[in-house]
Amino acid sequence: MKRKNPDAIVIGAGIVGACTALALTNAGLKVLIIDRGSVASGTTGAGEGNILVSDKDPGPELTLALKSRDLWFDLQEDVGDTFELEAKGGVVVARRESSALMKLADHQRSAGVTAEKVNGAQLRELEPYLHPDISEGVFYPQDAQCQPMLAAARIIQTVLSRGGELVSQARVTDFEISGSSVSAVITSQGTFYAPVVVNAAGTWAGEIAALAGSHIPIAPRKGFILVTEPAPQYIFHKVYDSDYVANVASSDADLQTSTVVEGTRSGTILIGASRERVGFDLSMNYEIVRKLAEQATSLFPVLRDVQLLRVYRGFRPYAPDHLPVIGEDSVVSGLWHSAGHEGAGIGLAPGSAALLTDAIVGRESFMDSNPFSPNRFAGVRV
């Protein structure tokens, strides 16, 4: 069947690929999305749906996060209210000493984040079931939440309704490079030609890049999420302790856990978070399950009587400097990357898509994308 070739191919039908495909489609390009599985087969299918500004230090990632958060609400206008997007707000509590958290909040405020210091009484109003001993925290009304798998699927549905295409079960095996430009993607489902190819393959973006002879060091950082039985509403915002911020920024390969608790529309409560570098090992670890349960119940004693139903694991794709990789490949022109968003993929997806699309179509963007450039890995061997 002879079809017109797409203007751009997006590799990856997760949240980053979906947002990128929609941004390109809205900029007038015909987009083909390919994935070795189907929609949300990778990290997006194991995510919580975090759209946070609260957990980022001032810098390029926070700038991207602030813009991206607002773009999520634009997406809801464009795609429809079909993925449980909610400006839920985040409450970060200081369990031990609070000076680090308060200092961070001050810095974030100067970068445009709304960060309200709250005392014990205010915390109790925000979260009545919070442990009474916790008396200091920061409220971030900009933090939001969505259902990430539904978001990816609905966004892709919109792309398809605007002339885009999706080819699933298509494993990329090679690239066709003419001169120093990419001209086609070769897959198990055939060869697809386009002058623009976006590598949005998340935790596997490094492998995809390598097929084009490019070095993008993305590695997996395993995480666990506990899911409880449907419970009465005990938690009203995303609540986490200030250890979370330190762990996100850490390069430690060993297991790190912090406390993240939130309710969902369906009534279940999600509990995280753990980070460890164990390669692509999805095996269960009951000690981590216990640790996360212990942390959650110490923040919310009422959870002691709530039952755990299931546990799921996934891999956050991260780059060694904990910044995403967004931009044109340093060697192969026409090949663009948008990957390595670590645990912030959902939140950063629309912003990354906007940044990348602006670069691809050659217009000015809302921020300088240089800090995210793939060039920073050129010549670096990890």
């Binding site: 039985e229 449907p230 419970a231 009534g267 009587d305 709530v306 039952q307």
Partner: protein
């Protein structure tokens, strides 16, 4: 002769025979609904009867989502519909 065991369900008093499950005792008393579903508020009661399906869940003495078909009735238990 089996001993009678009294307990309450949604505020009303019921009796069952010693050793019976909550679900069995309530069914024997003519109750055909243990709860309503949380989205569509449809009536539910025993379905698999052996603790697999969790359709018969009730809150017993404050603990939620207990399977009525496998929990034995105990004297004075306060049971209410879950969800």
């Amino acid at each position: 002769m089996k001993k009678n065991v009294s307990f309450s369900f949604n505020g009303s008093e019921y009796t069952g025979e010693e050793g019976q499950s909550v679900a069995a005792a309530l069914l024997a008393s003519g109750l055909t609904q243990l709860r309503s579903t949380r989205f569509n508020e449809k009536p539910r009661t025993i379905f698999c009867g052996i603790g697999i399906c969790f359709d018969c869940v009730v809150t017993i003495n404050g603990v939620a989502n207990q399977r009525a078909c496998i929990v034995t009735i105990s004297e004075g238990a306060q049971i209410v519909s879950s969800q």
